[in-house]
């Protein structure tokens, strides 16, 4: 069996040789380069754009503004029919009249080289009239706030309440109530390879071919076709090697669309590669929530009720095509989800601000939902003088609680929360840590331990975007083709950005077909070649594309055996395929290669009625369930330097249940990568804006990412509870690391500073914030 084995990835070999093929590695004949003039103001009226000097620069081919591209590209609105009341102002590829965030693209310079395009961009002279701006949610929702969008009465993009039971009564009768106001600051995905695109237009055929660093080629094919007015089958989107994505490459980005329009207008290939400043300014951002939450307990430590008020500081517009609602929605639905409680209310207010557009980055909403509930449990346990681990265990959903729809409306087939906790406690001796902790405190060394339990929503079902009206596939189809030599090509709609879904599909196909892995190749990332699918986001590859591959391979296996049975005059039920040979018990009859040869070149020898298709497809989508929920917990220990405010992670462990694991080698490091991103947002990463809406963190000198030296070894263990909803039994695994790390670190830091009478509820926990919490500055 290769499923479950620690199989390294084929694709990695090429990358290790420096022979990857990322978008910027591709050059096409007569290719031109694009650079953008971006808004220097958070909110301003464009009075005039003088492009004369830029156009006169040697090497500049064109300068495009909204006026030049108006006929070439449609506008769009980030609407979602499941949230019909959500405001969805009109958006344009290049700003018209008014800019609403610093970094919004205003003009595009097309030149013979990127350097000259950038020179040209500096020569474009925009006359602005600054408008009053809002960069803070509370300020944005104040009655006299300046409005971002003139047609709206306020900056409130959306508000909703989710309610179950009666929280008011539950809080009144509770023995203990704890409350905290949390601030989760804005950050982003920071893929090492920035966004990039090459768009090529063939006017004779009305054909657009796009190479793009992206997660969802079919979604982009649909969007480019509709926005540029092209027939969909004339648009082909190819995603070559993608240098990290983490959610920031599964949206429509205005600057990338401009590259397509420019290619169409100029009939020459256009390359746009974002630089790091472009990335910080104009990539999708995430988080930026202020959450006030209360939890009610009984004296015995039962959670009685939970209330969550989330002020969501969204960007200037909704993200397209998915909208920005999901992060707020996830927080409303997921907070406290691992725990049994009946009374719940979550309030969401989403405000438009003069900041970059906010959307889906890895583990959407999860880290916030997790950190809020986990911190409240620690606060409650502290007040009740109970062991926080015991309080968690007591309140975990378990056993007969499943299947269950949570008070927040999340469906759980099964969660293995107690098993994960038990496993974790075999990995770390908490009593010993407490002893050491007490001893070290006497020496002025402050260490803390934090636990965070999480649920992980994966493999979204088709209803969310289907009912929302978006053209986003949550279904996966696998096309599997037996070549004449007996090797197999699998074409999938899932895409591989390094997480290794190609290898996972190869393993599933190999096991199902009885072929060695080396006989199977997976082809992905091409909207013209691969069957329509969703791409890779939201931890959907293994669960959906893996199951589709299993189904396609089952059909192909059935056909191979049917042909063999007809040739051998045997009952197909007696035959099996092992290591590429058709066998019957211990007897080897013929090879799959022989069947492939006959099937392709001598089909006349196969009787009518035998299913002899050697190219088959199968599809898979979940039904009646919005997500497949995995779960787990993380335990972090940290040391806080109370003089400098620096937090040093010491140990970090994860126990995770993502159903059946296709390849533990790949899952483990993906979980660790998620943890490191979570530690990044807990301690370092922040997109800071000043009061004028200017981004202060536009480089790696200002926006800090975790490097090897700061990170601890991360111990990862798994509980494996396959989902019964599919034959394969896999759930997604990509969110877990990020989902729990913020809560674990936040609790660990608070545990460390508890004896100093201090608390902190703001992430990232930077030295200045921590020193302020400690009263030192």
């Amino acid at each position: 069996m290769s499923i479950g084995a620690e199989v390294p990835r084929d694709r990695a070999k090429r990358l290790l040789l420096g022979r990857g093929r990322f978008v910027d590695d591709i050059s096409l004949p007569r290719m031109l380069h694009l650079a953008f003039v971006r808004s220097t103001h958070a909110h301003a009226r464009i009075e005039a754009i003088d492009c004369a000097e830029a156009r006169a620069l040697e090497g500049v081919v064109a300068v495009l503004t909204a006026a030049e591209i108006a006929d070439g590209v449609a506008s769009w609105r980030a609407e979602h029919k499941l949230f019909p009341a959500m405001a969805a102002p009109e958006q344009f590829a290049l700003a018209r009249d008014i800019v609403r965030w610093q970094g919004e693209a205003v003009a595009a310079v097309v030149a013979h080289s990127r350097a000259v395009a950038e020179d040209g961009a500096e020569l474009v002279d925009v006359s602005w009239t600054e408008l009053p701006n809002v960069v803070d949610g509370k300020q944005a929702l104040a009655p006299d706030a300046p409005l971002l969008h003139g047609h709206m009465d306020s900056n409130l993009a959306y508000t909703t309440v989710i309610e179950a039971g009666n929280t008011r009564k539950a809080f009144e009768s509770a023995d203990v109530v704890v409350e905290e106001t949390f601030r989760f600051h804005r950050h982003t995905g920071v893929s090492l390879e920035a966004r990039g695109i090459i768009a090529e237009f063939e006017p004779g055929e009305d054909r657009l071919t796009v190479h793009q660093s992206h997660q969802t080629p079919h979604q982009q094919q649909d969007l480019y076709a509709r926005l540029l007015g092209l027939p969909e089958h004339k648009v082909r989107v190819i995603c070559p090697d993608v240098g990290g994505a983490f959610g920031l490459k599964h949206h429509l980005m205005a600057d990338e669309l401009v590259a397509c329009v420019a290619a169409k207008l100029l009939a020459r290939p256009i390359k746009y590669i974002a630089d790091r400043m472009d990335s910080f300014l104009a990539d999708i951002h995430c988080r930026d929530h202020e959450v006030t939450a209360r939890m009610a307990f009984s004296q015995a430590g039962d959670i009685l009720a939970l209330e969550v008020d989330d002020l969501f500081n969204a960007g200037a517009y909704g993200q397209y095509p998915r909208t920005s609602i999901a992060e707020g929605n996830q927080i409303s639905r997921l907070t406290g989800a691992p725990y049994r409680h009946e009374h719940y209310r979550a309030n969401l207010a989403m405000a438009f601000l003069n900041k970059g557009i906010l959307g889906h980055i890895r583990s959407v909403g999860h880290p916030i939902a997790c950190a809020v509930a986990e911190r409240l449990i620690d606060l409650g346990a502290g007040k009740l003088e109970l062991d926080p681990i015991a309080v968690r265990r007591r309140n975990y959903l378990h056993g007969d609680d499943f299947p269950r729809t949570s008070v927040g409306g999340v469906e759980f087939e099964h969660l293995s929360l107690r098993d994960c906790l038990d496993k974790a406690l075999t990995m770390i001796d908490v009593a010993r840590f407490r002893e050491d902790q007490a001893g070290l405190r006497a020496q002025g060394i402050y260490r803390g331990l934090g636990i965070a339990t999480f649920v992980e929503l994966t493999a979204i079902g088709p209803e969310y975007y289907g009912e929302g009206g978006q053209h986003i596939s949550a279904q996966e189809t696998c096309l599997m083709r037996l070549e004449a030599s007996g090797t197999v090509r699998c074409y999938t709609g899932a895409t591989d950005q390094g997480q290794g879904i190609d290898t996972g599909i190869q393993q599933v196909a190999a096991d199902t077909l009885g072929l060695p892995m080396a006989a199977i190749e997976v082809i992905s990332g091409d909207s013209a070649l691969c069957p329509m699918g969703g791409g890779s986001w939201g931890s959907r590859g293994a669960a959906l594309a893996g199951e589709a591959a299993l189904r396609a391979a089952s059909t192909l296996r059935h056909n191979i055996l049917a042909i063999a049975a007809s040739l051998l005059q045997k009952d197909a039920g007696c035959l099996d395929i092992k290591a590429g040979e058709v066998v019957e018990g211990g007897i080897t009859h013929m090879s799959v290669a022989e069947i492939a040869r006959i099937g392709h070149f001598q089909p006349y020898t196969i009787p009518h009625g035998v299913p002899a298709d050697l190219t088959v497809t199968a599809r898979y989508a979940t039904t009646g369930r919005m997500f497949l929920a995995g779960n787990g917990l993380q335990i972090a220990t940290v040391e806080v330097d109370v003089e400098s405010g620096i937090v040093t992670p010491l140990r970090h462990l994860v126990v995770h249940d993502c159903g059946r694991i296709l390849n533990p080698l790949l899952v483990r490091e993906q979980v660790r990568g998620g943890v490191v991103q979570g530690i990044g947002s807990a301690l370092y990463e922040e997109l800071r804006y000043d009061n004028a809406g200017h981004l202060l963190t536009g480089s790696f000198a200002d926006y800090l990412v975790p490097m090897a030296g700061e990170m601890p070894d991360i111990e990862v263990a798994h509980i494996e509870t396959p989902t019964a909803t599919s034959e394969l039994g896999a759930k997604g695994a990509g969110e877990a690391g990020t989902a729990g790390a913020v809560g674990a670190i936040l609790n660990a830091v608070n545990d460390a500073i508890l004896p100093l009478g201090a608390t902190i509820a703001e992430v990232p926990i930077t030295p200045p914030r921590l020193l302020k919490a400690l009263g030192r500055i």
Binding site: L15, L192, E193, Q499, L666, G673, V675, A701, M707, G709
Partner: protein
């Protein structure tokens, strides 16, 4: 645009050409010579994706101008290697899944190679410290540290 003629050796081949004086080394290697294994991640010297060897030392290809490499020897991931150390590192990175997207990997490999040349038996902390100029967003760094450590241990035995 001011240009200057340079001559250098790149991966063992003599190269002579005229380059704009403002062109940096990594853009020269990538776009003039087609050596796209060195990547551009920040153009600010922070991320390490553009790491190449200039006269045997790792440098940031984005912080060195092509004209500064005049007369020098440059090795990129496509050509670099001391004995079989790089091959060992590649094999260990592959076996232990020390890369996902692979964008940081050429820089990581060259930096790890330099570490092991100077310090054949580094501790995990020393490996982490030495690789701290190379940003990886996909892995948790641990598999990379494991791979470098495994090569050091195997070569010591």
């Amino acid at each position: 645009m001011k240009a200057r003629r340079i001559s250098l050796t790149v991966n063992g081949e003599a190269v002579a050409c005229e380059v704009p004086v403002r062109l940096n080394l990594v853009d020269f290697l990538r776009h003039e010579l087609g050596l796209t294994g060195s990547h551009v991640g920040c153009e600010q010297g922070a991320c390490g994706a553009c790491t190449v060897l200039l006269d045997g030392q790792t440098v940031r290809g984005c912080l060195v101008l092509a004209v500064q490499a005049d007369g020098a020897t440059v090795e990129t991931i496509e050509g670099a290697g001391f004995d079989d150390l790089l091959a060992d590192l590649r094999a260990a990175f592959h076996r232990l899944n020390a890369l996902q997207c692979g964008f940081c990997t050429p820089g990581m490999l060259l930096t790890a190679q330099e570490l092991l040349v100077g310090n054949p038996n580094p501790s995990r902390a020393e490996i982490r410290e030495y690789l701290s100029g190379n940003f990886c967003r996909c892995t948790g760094y641990q598999a990379i540290v494991d791979a470098v450590e495994a090569v050091a241990v195997a070569r010591a035995s």
